[in-house]
Symmetry: C3
Subunit: 359 residues, 3 copies
């Protein structure tokens, strides 16, 4: 029997429960099989010789050559299965910084003082969310929901919080592939949004700079949103032929009323941090100069509150909406599936990319 996509996901989750650290060699092998199973043959430029971790990962992946995706998937599942059975009687293992650094390419995930911090880490790309980052955020949220931290924070490294969906996901794609690639991306985005809906602990956005697109729309699913006064909030969907996602078509009118939500979501009005705060999308704005200090001081104090009480209170507030939010997510996603491949949308994205290329 061939391993299905679902088996692969289960294996990924099993790995996170593994009590004994399997060692770097095995982890590199798992990394390579996962990449091969989900993206095919190694498409990563060879890293420089001093970039040791990336180089080790590149070599592990590149070694797999043209191994078919299905075979890689099966091998991944088998390897995890053997690790699990061999570790069942053991229980040491320490999930340390080293393991985290290895697992995530686009994030830095740390955990201290009762706070798990997920930092988007593509600063040179304004933390644009590529397919890899979507997947890694899903994994990081699933891990954070089970770790012993009290609150979970999402923030960005560098000047931007996040410039949203990385449209260059589609630049090197041939017209023949684009339809399937776009469809798969949308399925991934739907799963990604679902993780925010289901997240069981207080989830806090520390918006260190400009936020665009899905980095904005998702904010309606956070429990607290702190913003630097340098942050802006922009959802230029219509001129790209796109529609609101991240449940924003539901959460934004509830938060700010339909007349403010529509100018933002449909007509692409960009909000300052102060405006976003006045409209309830942002909880509080801080001067950029003292932003990090003030926010983390407060969060550390909040993280000392009883963890279980916070979790239950969040669920009392949020669970009532969960079913509705999941159906909104599915609906928004299927509207996008219906239109994202239209000529208007493809042309709008192509125009956007070619304009950017000229800058």
């Amino acid at each position: 029997m061939r391993a299905s996509q679902k088996d692969l996901e289960n294996a990924v989750n099993q790995m996170k429960l593994l009590k004994k650290d399997p060692g770097n060699e095995v982890k590199l092998k798992l990394y390579a099989l996962y990449k091969q199973a989900t993206e095919g043959p190694c498409n990563m430029p060879k890293p420089g010789i001093y970039d040791l971790i990336r180089k080790a990962k590149w070599e592990a992946w590149n070694t797999l050559g043209n191994l078919p995706k299905e075979t890689a998937r099966q091998n991944y599942v088998d390897l995890v299965s053997s690790l699990c059975s061999s570790s069942e009687s053991s229980s040491q293992g320490k999930p340390g910084a080293d393991r985290e650094q290895l697992r995530y390419e686009t994030l830095v995930v740390t955990s201290e003082d009762g706070i798990t911090k997920i930092m988007l880490n593509r600063p040179s790309k304004k933390n644009a969310v590529n397919l890899q980052m979507y997947q890694e955020i899903v994994l990081a949220l699933k891990a954070a929901s089970q770790d012993d931290s009290t609150i979970t924070v999402l923030t960005g490294n560098g000047d931007y919080y996040s410039s949203g969906n990385d449209l260059t996901n589609f630049t090197n794609t041939s017209p023949g592939e684009i339809q399937e690639k776009a469809k798969n991306s949308l399925i991934l985005v739907r799963e990604f949004v679902g993780c925010f809906i289901d997240f069981p602990k207080p989830l806090i956005a520390v918006v260190n700079g400009p936020a665009v697109g899905i980095a904005v729309t998702l904010l309606g699913l956070f429990d607290i949103v702190y913003a630097s006064d340098r942050a802006t909030f922009h959802t230029p969907f219509s001129r790209l032929g796109l529609h609101p996602e991240g449940c924003s078509s539901y959460t934004f009118p509830k938060i700010m009323g339909p007349t403010k939500a529509t100018e933002m979501l449909i007509f692409g009005k960009k909000l300052t941090a102060e405006e976003a705060c006045a409209q309830g999308l942002v909880t509080e704005v801080f001067p950029d100069r003292t932003f990090q200090k003030e926010v983390w001081t407060r969060l550390k104090a909040y993280a000392k509150l009883p963890s279980n009480v916070l979790r239950i209170s969040k669920q009392v507030i949020r669970n009532r909406e969960k079913e509705k939010l999941h159906s909104v997510n599915v609906e928004e996603n299927s509207v996008l599936q219906g239109t994202v491949l239209s000529d208007e949308a493809v042309n709008a994205v192509m125009n956007f990319l070619s304009k950017r290329a000229k800058l």
Copy 2:
């Protein structure tokens, strides 16, 4: 078989699809039959001799004498039917300003730069909405929903946006007739509100001055509301023995929270434009001096966004609420039907009118 009210409405809609302009004579005939079918014998004071268009209309209507409503309705339907069949092979016709001016007595409707603008045009009456205007707005919205404009704007001519329901609708009515007249008015208001709920494109209010009553309550159904700083928002229902309509009993608490909505809707607190903006009823306030210029510049830019994308995004945001809004509309309307004929309500309206008459 006799033509029903529904047949009449269908015929009105068919007229709007007519490709060939039938000429002024036929249009006057249609106008007269429509008035006779819906209002009975000509009740319009004879216009002055220099008011050529109104005079032509008056004469056409007056000519019908005591023709029964049912017969007028049947004749209207038959005439449209003959026009449609005779024009099926033709396709010239240009629906120009002239036709619009003839069709609407209380509105000026224009369409350019991707924007259909519906302007309430009873400035000497502060754009109070009389029965004619209710009907004409319904027609204008139905036409705008099918034309090729990108966005639709409602605004007022003169100092007021609109002073709301024209209570003088009832001044010349004998006590015996008032019950049926009020009931018919309420049915019309329900249909009128339903058109706003169903409107499929971005709908924008340009609130050029004070707004009262139903002109305020309806704002919760618009997608953007721009206001001059001279605008005020006032719903003095309770002292007239009336209750909130226009779905405001549902939309206002959602937009501004119940404690602010109640003081406004029940206790008649009048809001300034700034207050209405802070509470989310208004999207943005502009200085009156530059209001028209700033608003239309922005709207023209918005109207250049892809029409189909805007329409779908509006529907993603709004459709989820449609069924609920229609049921609220029916409920509000039936509460009004139950109370509007109470002694309190009739006395309150009579008091209001007699006070106004003294001013």
Copy 3:
């Protein structure tokens, strides 16, 4: 057949409908039986000799000695029954200030100018809500819903609006009793919140000073909330091991959006009156110096509006939410029942009380 708790409640309600004042002696007897039936043997410290009313009540209650609760309940029901049958043909009686003063120990209830004012009257305890006050507010709201006033106001006597649930309710309780006492308290709180959900007339909070806990969360069920600029709004649930109640887990996110509601309800952020107003929890803020004068002037004007119209309009706005609010109330209450007896919650309350005792 033994009288049930429900029979007792019915008898209490019957008493309020009694047309003939039964006289002070009978009322003292009823008072004593009610206290014995609900709280058991007299636990009130003997009042000083000049505190005539309290002393009369103490004596009446103390006289019952160790009469079992069930017997007291039965006697109460029988006594009311005999009063009702003997007064059926009579109809004088005047429910005056004297009767009110006797009935309420923790409130001052007055009615004039179309306004029934329920004033929390434990100023030395910052108007903390003890079990007695919960019960009396329920009775006062039920009476106000049936009297001929137009609007009903809740306010506090002294510096505080209310410091919330009186945690000293539990100080003199043995560990063996605490479970049942807490459970009964929660049932009472649920009934208490239900009265606010169902209240049929405009209900207005005049927040004269700081509000804490349930005094804050309930505000989402009021129709207007006026606040002195000295008022603050604080819900420190988590550090006491508690969760949001008063339907706030539903009303607060609707009013202010989830990101502001969560920082307040879960993380205990204290709001100023201005902040609470900007977020829609408070309708308007007044300078403390002129607070009482401005608010009562406005309320007296509002109370002149037609009573029946206001009542129906409130119901048009609120009834749509009633079923939902009742289910939220039940849900919040059952979450509290599940956690309020946890070690965390008991320890947190004990810590809080011991810290306060040291001040």
